[in-house]
């Protein structure tokens, strides 16, 4: 009787998952490197053919063009490197203002969306559904070409109490001018900040030890506002407002917001607020109603319930997508290029690129800036997430 002996057949080596994995990776890496080398070779040939010298030397040569809005001293004789900083600051300025406005508007509308008042809730819904379904570029164009182009010329400016003026050249606001004694006010504000920190620490410790609560929030607010205001009054009001005045064909003095900036800021805030509102709504709805009931049954009043129970839990849900929206806003501010607001893309990747022909350098620098901002914020976000993540068994 012949016994069936099962000598295990060794599978061929190409069926071994480990060897396969290594082979796949080697192929993928080799293909990537080969593709990169191919692009590099083509670029070298093309650059030689077009006679473009690569490198970053162009950054130090003089630009020869003016920029509409600049936060740091800039003139036509400044270098291309200076253009970069002016443009970057303009991007950061419009992004920072946009983030503040969009957050305020977004939270108001998000909370309104959950209002028990039917009319308010429906209005908020209409706002959200309208603005998030229309391309941002279209909204920017609408504000810039249809609304702000339709305002009158400087001589027929629309004015608000003869201190704020709106005309085709922009929105003119009174500019604050700091006088010598203003340093004291800043010092007082710094002092108030320190005092608030001490107060918060003390009240927390007292509550831990004795259980007595102290109205730390209102006391801090009073300190932060009261101390600088009192100093301001004592120092003899060291601040004057320079009101814009019509001289000749245009306004002189004051703070001017150019139409490009105004329309970009308006549309960025309105558009992003619609997304933030949905995030806020989802965050608040994510906290189950049982939490509120439990808090009431423990004897906490509605204000404390909101502050100590609902908000901390809602923020855990809200903050990650909210940061995403902030990042989107920063990236979307690059649409400035379409209406000529001198941001990074318009002034640097646009004008400088066209003048110098250094396409690779300009695009690379621009992309690197956005990438750095994104990665920085992602890193912060991950750290925050680790801190607030639910600790489970």
């Amino acid at each position: 009787m012949a016994e069936h002996t099962h000598t295990p057949v060794k599978p061929p080596f190409w069926n071994n998952p480990e060897i396969r994995a290594i082979a796949f990776q080697v192929i993928a890496l080799a293909a990537t490197v080969a593709f990169g080398y191919y692009l590099f070779e083509n670029t070298q040939t093309n650059l030689r053919r077009l006679g473009i010298a690569s490198g970053f030397d162009f950054l130090s040569s003089s630009s020869g063009f003016g920029i509409l809005q600049s936060l740091i001293p800039y003139s036509e004789t400044s270098s291309y490197g200076r253009v970069f900083w002016v443009a970057l600051l303009n991007t950061l300025l419009v992004s920072a203002l946009g983030i503040v406005l969009a957050t305020l508007l977004g939270f108001i509308i998000g909370i309104a969306r959950l209002s028990k008042n039917w009319l308010i809730a429906k209005l908020a819904l209409a706002y959200i559904e309208t603005f998030r379904n229309i391309p941002l570029l279209l909204q920017i164009f609408f504000w810039y070409f249809a609304v702000l182009r339709a305002v009158p010329s400087p001589r027929q400016s629309l004015s608000l109490g003869d201190v704020v003026f709106l005309n085709i050249r922009g929105l003119y606001l009174p500019a604050p001018q700091l006088q010598p004694g203003f340093g004291w006010v800043l010092t007082a504000f710094g002092l108030a900040l320190v005092l608030v920190a001490i107060l918060a620490h003390w009240s927390r410790r007292r509550q831990m030890e004795t259980g007595q609560t102290f109205p730390a929030l209102s006391a801090s607010l009073a300190l932060l506002l009261g101390l600088p205001l009192a100093t301001f009054w004592l120092a003899g009001s060291p601040l004057v407002w320079q009101v814009p005045e019509l001289r000749g064909f245009n306004f002189q003095g004051g703070l001017v917001i150019i139409p490009e900036m105004a329309s970009l800021l308006l549309s960025l805030s309105i558009y992003t607020a619609a997304f933030i509102a949905e995030i806020v709504r989802a965050g608040i709805q994510a906290v189950s109603h049982g939490q509120t009931e439990a808090s009431y049954s423990l004897g906490l009043n509605p204000t404390l319930t909101l502050r100590l129970i609902i908000l901390p839990q809602a923020l855990r849900v809200i903050i990650p997508p909210l940061t995403n929206q902030y990042l989107n806003l920063i990236k979307n501010s690059s649409l400035a290029a379409a209406i000529g607001y001198p941001d990074l893309v318009a002034a640097f990747a646009g004008t400088v690129l066209n003048q110098t022909g250094q396409a690779i350098e300009c695009i690379a620098i621009t992309m690197a800036v956005y990438l750095t901002i994104s990665l920085l914020i992602s890193l912060l976000m991950n750290a925050y997430n680790r801190r607030v993540a639910l600790v489970e068994r």
């Binding site: 083509n42 093309n46 379904n133 229309i134 279209l138 164009f141 609304v147 695009i363 992309m367």
Partner: protein, 368 residues
């Protein structure tokens, strides 16, 4: 007990039910609520009559030149009417526009079985995949011509809503599979593949689309061998697709992460290989979970097609913008933008409603 129903004490008081009760509960429940209602009504009173008068009551609907609009103070919809063909087809030759219409008709006829609920799912999948492979070819031949005796129409003449839909359609059909592959790569056990996919995704997600389009228009020619020249539209398509596939990858990854490990183990126990596990077990569940995310990406892509204006393509946005700067029709930019906004809004809102519907229909159990 004073306001209880006089004859039927078991019924709720009259003030708590019916239209009056609804008003009281939803609009006038507390002093704060009354103030809010007042504020909202005032806001509506300030805006709605203005908008109604402008858009409907005082608007001009008929005529064929700007002179027709001088008499009325409201919107001049004549501007839209006069330029409507251009908004839809761009500079596509008038005599050839039937080809675009035919392609649209074919799409509607081809896609119709997918939306009929009585058609079996198995047939829908096959038909859908077939359509996905065949339709782009048919549409391309119809649009571009130069084959079967059709006159050639250069892509630079494609425009208006047609171009917007072409970019959005190609972007969607290409970004989804690419995004799925990238997501699988990012979740892969192989470190090299994982790093490559992660770098790719983070790189595209970190930069604005506009710089990607700039890159594809000024840098792509430098990357290619001498003599090879890509069509402007193709360059934009590559940019949009790569950009959105990175976002799609992150959405799909979310779905992959939500699939319990047991599913992978069960598939392995049944002897399924990697691709079969993914295609038959994991992806059908993962994709169903992230339908809202996928549609959100589609909507974002649809809105982002408007950015091709910056590299000089005449999509709906640019065609409308161009028409508002036409000297014969100066001063009607509001009408133009409102029209374009309405078109974009209809598409985006429609997509989001359809996804909500789909989500509800595919929600097989698991409801808590």
């Amino acid at each position: 007990m004073t306001d209880a129903h006089p004859s039927r004490p078991d019924l709720p008081p009259a003030s708590a039910i019916g239209a009056f009760g609804w008003l009281r509960r939803n609009l006038f429940s507390s002093p704060f609520n009354i103030a809010l209602t007042g504020l909202a009504s005032y806001l509506l009173y300030l805006t709605v009559p203005h908008v109604l008068h402008w858009a409907l009551l005082d608007a001009t609907w008929s005529g064929d030149s700007r002179e027709a609009c001088q008499a009325n103070g409201g919107a001049c919809w004549v501007f839209i009417r006069a330029n409507f063909e251009q908004f839809m087809y761009g500079f596509y030759p008038e005599a050839q526009r039937w080809r675009v219409d035919t392609a649209l008709l074919l799409l509607i006829l081809g896609a119709a079985p997918l939306f009929v609920r009585t058609v079996p799912n198995k047939f829908k999948v096959r038909w859908g995949l077939g359509l996905l492979l065949v339709y782009p070819l048919v549409a391309f031949v119809l649009f571009k011509g130069d084959l079967f005796g059709l006159r050639a129409v250069d892509t630079s003449r494609w425009g208006g809503l047609l171009l917007t839909l072409v970019i959005a359609g190609v972007g969607m059909t290409a970004a989804l599979p690419l995004g799925i592959l990238l997501a699988l790569g990012r979740r892969s056990q192989m470190p090299a593949i994982q790093t490559l996919c992660m770098t790719f995704i983070e790189l595209w997600r970190g930069v604005p689309l506009i710089t990607v389009l700039f890159m594809s228009s000024v840098m792509l020619p430098l990357f290619l061998p001498v003599g090879v020249n890509f069509d402007k539209l193709l360059r934009a398509l590559i940019g949009v697709t790569l950009f959105q596939s990175a976002y799609m990858a992150e959405v799909v990854r979310g779905g992959l992460q939500a699939i319990p490990k047991g599913q992978f183990e069960a598939a392995a126990a049944l002897g399924l290989g990697y691709w079969k596990t993914m295609a038959l077990i994991v992806l059908p569940q993962a994709l169903k979970l992230v339908i809202p995310g996928i549609v959100n990406t589609f909507i974002a892509l649809f809105k982002d097609t408007s950015l091709v204006l910056i590299i000089g393509l005449f999509d709906l946005m640019n065609t409308v913008h161009n028409a508002t700067t036409n000297p014969a029709w100066l001063g009607f930019s509001t009408e133009g933008y409102v029209f374009a906004a309405a078109v974009y809004w209809l598409f985006c809102f429609g997509m989001s409603r359809y996804s909500q519907n789909l989500e509800k229909r595919l929600h097989t159990g698991h409801k808590r």
